[in-house]
Symmetry: C2
């Protein structure tokens, strides 16, 4: 790992966000920082309760702020420091954002030990759809595929 | 499936959003609708390009709007109709939101056939972390766990 001091400083920033979120009674103990070329782009703690938004985990909130700051939906060239291994939602968001590297501290097993459901959701995603706790029903596929066919001919067809 | 006509009407609404998003050159061919007790709560198409937000898939956007409308981060009792099988990010968001049932039309394989990366991300999540395309590095776990310990004593400790 190059620039170890820099990595440590940004991860400590993420950890500090996670601590502060609890000590200030804002929300759950998670923080994340997005960095590009060694410079801070955006940072956030978990904002689920504060924003009434179940998707406002620290990583997703930091990604949204980074996109706002850089005026793009493509964070290629950025890295993320997160105080905990991302849940499947946040891991998916990191892939879609094209972030280059994830640095994390606590594991999903640590999160599970303290009552967070990350591991449960990982376990669910590992199961075939029909064995999951959450019922899933397919319908009208024949009608829906028309939108994909329309997309094929769209002048707007860019990689999104 | 009870109330088949109602299910068909809401799924057609999701499909219409996916078609309209392409025909109006707003974004990718995906739409989602959140419903509670047979009534529409929120609906959205994919807003990634329009909002410069890689997390603004149709399902996540509809969930955020539903939470805003119902003034809660807990969508228990709601169901979601989505024009395509959710990607791991959106599936995670659906779990965190506590939505009760997913109705979907196109499959992730259909999405892959038309150039969308959902299946790639599913495949990545199935691999052990060290075999994924996206580099992941653990560091400072000993320092980060302090936030979880602080959380255990927080008066704010509610299920979030």
């Amino acid at each position: 790992m190059e620039n170890i001091e820099q990595h440590v400083a940004f991860m400590r920033m993420a950890i500090e966000l996670s601590m502060q979120n609890v000590s200030e009674c804002v929300g759950a103990p998670f923080g994340a920082v997005v960095v590009k070329d060694g410079k801070l782009v955006a940072k956030s703690a978990n904002r689920v309760v504060a924003a009434n938004d179940p998707t406002a985990h620290a990583e997703i909130s930091a990604i949204r702020l980074a996109c706002l700051s850089l005026n793009t939906f493509d964070l290629s060239g950025c890295v993320i420091y997160t105080s905990c291994e991302p849940c499947p939602m946040c891991l998916g968001a990191i892939y879609w954002s094209r972030i280059n590297t994830i640095y994390y501290a606590n594991t999903k097993a640590d999160a599970a030990d303290f009552g967070f459901d990350d591991k449960f959701i990982y376990d669910e995603l590992d199961k075939p759809m029909e064995e999951r706790m959450l019922p899933v029903v397919q319908m009208l596929r024949d009608e829906a595929v028309a939108a994909f066919k329309l997309w094929e001919t769209s002048p707007m067809r860019i990689d999104c």
